[in-house]
Symmetry: C3
Subunit: 196 residues, 3 copies
């Protein structure tokens, strides 16, 4: 009889714990909004991609090209004024596992970027990692602001397909190397929180 | 003994409730698809951003500029035909807490829009709110169609970083004010349903 | 008394099952990442959209137009070299329930695409289905790489509004028909996994 009661109490205790944890999850942080605890990442990858910008002389090697520019600028060279404000480029860049441009690519980074600030170097990126290696088959699509001069900047993962179906997460990008207006290499640390 | 049975029944009842609620969640609405109940928003914010369009005379003040246009148009002025169809602009607009252009900005709205209908004013937007104030540090990225002449239009929140890591939700946009083809101000009511 | 113990055991068994299933969900697949089981789709739709590309002669009928192109190309015709690399188009295409261009449209596909590979036909798409019929009212926004010559390619659903509020999922696209550089029709099989 005592155990039966205990059992009944245990059930109630479980229910109580559930209610309490639910309430805790809804507790505000003093700023009148409710945060949920972040679960562990389900995946982390570091990849590099290499952008060789067309400059009128490197048609064979260039992996990106200007396709839009503001009035007064041209499509051969990045705009000399206003920190390239308004220059729009399309790219198809090799992705590698390390920082060596000549390493065998594991996929292509395809998308566009444009410079969007007059008083500093800043860009906006929309692109997809098309991965096709023994380790990964699928795509991850990214979008967001890229304040180029900041060492580490976060860009949103907005979708994915294949191995990365509907994934969500964040990419921390840093400029690993660059050569004037002709080459830059981005190191991308991708942390995913939803994997199916 | 009776209580033990009751306890056992309670466990079964819990399980039954779980099954029933699961089934209910999967009930179709007569259109052969299954909806989930929408949870409460975790955050709501109203912000304004101000777009000063370059028109050939306001280079100092302009916060956006044309970078693409269809054949026959130019990059100085919005295309006079077809409701600007094909005009593509890049912007870096101040965000304010109220509708005053001169209020201290709490961040920048950075991205692009293009006009995409011949027979009416309509646009497509891809942009990021880069917020950097005592209240918010982080980014929210938006994307979607903007039927400009509709009073309130919904645009998707597609990602976020920092305070808005992986957020999801909706932005209801309305044109708060405009002056010809030189200035417009959008009021953005952001409702977020996932906050970490 | 025996039943009371049994009941108690049942509670523990439930708890054990919960722990085991939680652990199982976190089991790696040998590649050091954790996958979650994919739930059933909440919705599936097949829609078609029709793109009539401006070519200098079809201004009346064209539903898309070039707004950007690389140096050496023009905005009247798709670039004759490099598989159109760098051509950027804006579109406002009718969406139909079947593959007939003249069927009553159920909405508009609005967005942009650009060609992004030199050595093959490949594109990147960002667009929104603006649906306005008795069956669907709302928008679905898509983004991602489109390797045109692959029969079926997956593009991410990155957001939605109205009936498709915050939806997530995948669109499997195939080129249902095309006529040179003037017309193409995409069949889009949309599978959604989150419906509110």
């Amino acid at each position: 009889m005592a155990m039966a009661i205990k059992s009944n109490r245990f059930v109630h205790l479980c229910f109580l714990l559930f209610v309490v944890s639910t309430v805790l999850l809804q507790t505000t942080d003093g700023r009148s909004w409710k945060k949920r605890p972040l679960r562990q990442p389900c995946r982390n990858m570091v990849l590099y991609f290499h952008d060789v910008i067309y400059n009128g002389k490197n048609a064979m090697n260039a992996t990106s090209t200007l396709v839009g520019a503001p009035r007064g600028a041209n499509l051969t060279l990045l705009y000399g004024k206003d920190n390239h404000f308004g220059d729009l480029a399309v790219f198809d860049d090799p992705i590698t596992l390390d920082n060596n441009f000549h390493s065998p690519p594991v996929g292509r980074a395809q998308g566009f970027y444009f410079y969007d600030m007059k008083n500093t170097f800043s860009a906006w990126l929309g692109f997809t990692f098309v991965l096709n290696s023994t380790d990964h088959k699928g795509t991850i699509t990214f979008g967001g602001a890229d304040p180029i001069l900041t060492k580490y900047r976060d860009i949103s993962v907005v979708g994915g397909t294949g191995d990365f179906l509907m994934t969500r997460g964040i990419a921390t990008v840093n400029t690993d190397s660059y050569e004037g207006d002709v080459y830059f290499r981005l190191r991308v640390n991708i942390t995913l929180y939803e994997c199916y």
